[in-house]
Symmetry: D2
Subunit: 403 residues, 4 copies
């Protein structure tokens, strides 16, 4: 997704079809089983899917050709992301899953040569996984400058102490990018923290648990960990960028990340919408009386279609502007899509559950998985309320200065 990338636009439709076919043929038949089973036992199966993706030239679409990818720009990748999002293992199979894709972006832009060679390279190749440790249980995530985790410089190393949670995919990861306070006395609270690479076999790193979330603790990639750093020492060269740059790097990292999330959510919406329609035409209330004839169901289908369409147009519009004018120019748009699309997704999923009746609350379809595990979408990366206030304040500022 680097702005210099330039996959030929005229080839995109064919490429998108290839992703669509792959996902339908290879992922839809197995994804429910994988996300409701034990993820770790499926790693070989997933590995062979990755090989297949590589052999078809579809692996890592977000990376430059030089780095083993396809060189898609943000707008192009967004369209792939929607397709992959239709399966909960879609991004994983193509090695463009969060949080790794964010870490790749981060290290590509700001990593040292050493960091790139040691960590970025194997990450891009899908040899290792990574995680991103920012959120702390004792502080509201919506105010990220409140951090207790510290990284104290001692000679050639940093000594890290702190307590994090919702460290997605920490279980089985090779390293974490850790946000920690290095400069507690900096004037601005936004200049106190830094990002550090912590290999997870470092003494002092403790994986406390995979947090049980909405009924699943999950494991490996499909988990969110609670972790501790207890006098955990890493070499000073593991600092990303310079001291105090933590928040500005995080902003850079989150920008395109929200586009990815939103397009993934739209993918979920489309899969769920499809399920809702199939159910509506096939479920008979009485002989020859499918659910589809009920006006309430029709309302839900019409409203869902409208809302999904609105979502996609807004996210794509934001992606185009971000590609053109940079992340800063689209801050309002990013806030807008964050709360709008998350809300649409949860409504569409909820309607689909209702259309499926009892089946909808079982784990026999993907609806339950998404109903449970996407509820967080309205919370992580800034809850709805924070984005709405931020957007409104940004808009109102223009009126105030005129007033």
């Amino acid at each position: 997704m680097h702005s210099t990338q330039n996959f030929p636009q005229e080839k995109l439709p064919v490429l998108l079809d290839q992703y669509r076919d792959f996902v339908h043929a290879n992922l839809f038949p197995i994804d429910l089983e994988i996300v409701t089973g034990q993820f770790r036992t499926r790693l070989p199966q997933l590995e062979s899917l990755r090989s297949k993706a590589k052999s078809l030239g579809l692996f890592a679409p977000h990376l430059s050709e030089k780095d083993g990818g396809l060189g898609l720009n943000l707008v192009q990748f967004a369209q792939v992301s929607e397709i992959l999002g239709q399966s909960p293992i879609g991004h994983y199979v193509f090695n463009c899953q969060a949080p790794d894709i964010g870490n790749m972006e981060l290290l590509h832009l700001f990593g040292s040569e050493h960091q790139k060679k040691t960590w970025l390279k194997p990450l891009q190749g899908g040899k290792i996984r990574s995680c991103f440790a920012m959120t702390e249980p004792d502080h509201a995530g919506s105010n990220p400058v409140n951090l207790s985790t510290s990284a104290v410089r001692e000679g050639d190393s940093y000594r890290i102490n702190g307590h994090k949670w919702f460290t997605t995919s920490a279980d089985g990861a090779a390293f974490a990018v850790v946000m920690a306070v290095t400069n507690p006395d900096a004037g601005s609270p936004h200049q106190r923290a830094s990002m550090l690479i912590v290999p997870l076999d470092t003494p002092g790193f403790r994986h406390i648990r995979n947090i049980p979330i909405m009924g699943d603790a999950g494991e490996d990639y499909l988990s969110h960990a609670e972790i501790r750093f207890e006098d955990c020492r890493v070499p000073a060269e593991n600092l990303i960028g310079v001291e105090g740059q933590g928040f500005s790097l995080a902003q850079e990292r989150l920008g395109p990340g929200r586009i990815h999330h939103c397009m993934r959510w739209i993918g979920i919406c489309e899969r769920v919408f499809e399920m809702m329609c199939v159910r509506a035409v096939s479920r008979q209330l009485d002989i020859g009386k499918p659910l589809a004839e009920k006006q309430t169901i029709q309302n839900w289908i019409a409203e869902s279609r409208a809302e999904i369409k609105a979502s996609r147009l807004m996210v794509m519009d934001t992606a185009v502007k971000m590609e053109q004018f940079g992340a800063k120019a689209v801050r309002e748009d990013i806030s807008t899509i964050k709360f709008f699309v998350a809300d649409v997704m949860m409504k569409v999923i909820d309607r689909a559950v209702q259309v499926h009746g009892a089946l909808g609350i079982t784990d026999d379809t993907l609806l339950s998985f998404w109903y449970r595990h996407e509820r967080g979408a309205r919370i992580y990366d800034g809850p709805d309320e924070v984005h709405k206030s931020a957007l409104a304040r940004s808009i109102l500022k223009k009126y105030r200065s005129n007033g």
Copy 2:
């Protein structure tokens, strides 16, 4: 908006600015007074604004240059329409107001040479006004094939009898396009009706009243009439197209009309949004405590912004497709924007009323006018419920045939 029109795209931004400036400078200062006063007394003032528009080369943007317009295509005109929609007299001043614009379109496409010369020409020049008589009080408008008005061919003329209402702008119009049953025995109910031009000074035409709507009967252009045809005779040459073609012509007429309406509604949203923001920063709850600091107000501003943005993107997307592929190809999209945008508009207006407090329910701002007179948007041209069902059934058909 004829598909052959071709206003140079690169000149559009400047043109839009000109419309914006005109509307701000000339219409905003007087529109509230005009729509809350007696419209007819303002005709000279409006006429002089039309002259000004003509002298600036902004008049009738939807017409070809040959017909005295600017030659904008549908997509370009949609953008002008949003700007004009910010004022309730915007479209009128530029002679692209409903129902006249629809009648111009209709006569341009399907009128005889005689009809064009006699009716279309002065309509395009803003010399006369017209109306469109379709809805009947005794039949649900959502099922237009139920018509009681008849036009019986008798020699060289048609004898029309019937009762219509919601004949917008009939008061003061020169002629009506009347939908009447000419072929009651046609196989398909969609082939029974025809469109006829009825000059309003024809004997047998009765203007019963301007229907009081939401507190205003209005007058002239700003009114909706109840009318009767009582053995009202018009020459056979007043038939538009051929007998039985009424519904197919109506479909053609309504297609772009819904784009125009939706863009006008978005214009309303933008003006109302502006009012809401200005109020939020200026109204003090306590010294130094503007409404804008209240999170509920912020929520409304953020949600409104998101919904307006979604609306515009969807309407423009539909306009682009309609321009490219024709009205038939975008039937689902048209239904989608019809119910989505009308709903957004009513929500945005309602929030703005609430933000204005007591002032919001007075006629001292435009909010009351729109709160009252745009409530119909969820009803006319097909109520929400009809469009939702139509959209859903169209979507579900694809699943059923696969099933």
Copy 3:
């Protein structure tokens, strides 16, 4: 509604039937015409209805028998109020309309003997009308301690200066109860204002206009005035209670008033609900296909029924508690019903409009009147947002003190 009143409970069902019959027989046939016409021309007709009410022993149900009423307590009156609320002229005909009922309550409780004789007596008898001047255009009504109107004591009189609006029914009223600052230096802002009786023929009182509200300026009882006091002098004996007591009296006055309003709104809901059902079974979409068969319509009817039922139970529960424990004990309940019932009413009205289609937006039914003139219900006597915050803060206080 005075707590000492004691209409025999066992006679209530028969009494309620009497009110129901009166309203159906005498008010339903004429109320639409009255509220959409010129109110003043109807005063004789209304006067004869009042005579009829008196002759049937139904007049002024809220007053004690001694004062010419029926001696209903708050809970009993609430039930009458719902019935009267079904017609927009119901309360007026029985002389228990706002703002007069509040002023009667106020003067009954706090008026001097002289005030009672001069103002209360004829008010109770329906000989004169009154108004209540509190809201000012320059201050948010939701923060009533912000008042600019002053009443300066000068010898035996007060000199009043100020600007008020939304002075309901000032047009044609004999006197106003005016809230004005008498003690600008009082420690608490709640002790700065007083209530004064101002006869409206006092020099210095100016009726500027009946504010046009949602399309109607209205007149007489059915209007809301903008007024000014310009060195308007009243004798000191016109002070109600003692100086600085303004806000505590206003609280007393508003308490039962909100019960009355809520029950009136429920009356509106019931009439509108009835209209919606009648329309649903009678309007045919196609031969033999009434609207009633549409599931969306059914949803609206079911949801409306549930919400109206919830509203009534909550208001009656609040009335019972207020009767038993006083207004202070039910502050949370009052906030609850204020925002809950207003919201329900607007939703029910909006659904009924939609069910009526084009007819619903005309002034040919009462729907338009209520759609327009009850929109204020979510604003006056404290907007939704203020009541929600007040309720929440009151609830949260209990948790905080425990914490």
Copy 4:
């Protein structure tokens, strides 16, 4: 809850306090752990709580004193049910949990002496558990007359074949009450089915699985099974009532059951509301800036409080009427509370999740359990849509017959 029961009303407040104390002291500290752990391992702990309940005279409040209970009537029990509902193990500990309470009611009213002795007695004593097998995967539960399970009379026994699911608590139950078609040729589809007692150790009964629901398959009492009957034979004396009576018995069984459910849901609402408030005052966004100060949070708290209050008043009103006039008289009310309260509960839970942020989606609080496992409330015992249509049709019937 038998209508003859007569627990002295004046002792109720003290009794309710006892339940409240018990639940706070004994259940709140352990319930999260129990419902997120392995239920079966907790049976001894639960058994000792039951003993405690018995020793305090609080066990089985719904049963007559003769049967070892307290003799509460429906209205009294409803109030206990709300208190017990605050803990997901509340009803279980007091042996008044669904589906057993429904089966006790059923056997009490319609069981033979033999059935009472063999099944009802130990069920009342908490010695065994039971289940109710009605829903089938191949038929929409909302149309219960569509049943495929058959019970063919063969001499002195019935041979049962069929496939059921959502047979709540079948795992570990001693017997099932099974709804099966015994009279396929009966004129009315409502007279084709019967209820039969099937001991779960009968050959031909197969427990296929505990259906994984929203992330948990659960076990024992806390599970919903998929089961099959394969030539499963039970003696003819296991028929409850007479052949063909299945649906009328089911109606009887469901009536009070919906009151119980609704009161349990209100209990959940209250616990969740409490959690939301505690969180709001304790979670700091910034030092000294608790969430409670955010207006959005205040809105949710106010709206939740209003909606919970409305729910309780409606359910209690329905219980009182049912007690007085029987289940048939309150069919509309039952439909009303079914969809209204389920909706309120899901909204309140959703808001509480959002207020808790990341914590809200973990299994570290009860919110996740209820968010997931009460989603079914809008589906089981008739989905929202069915109850809304039923209510509306019942209301509209009155208008139609008048029309």
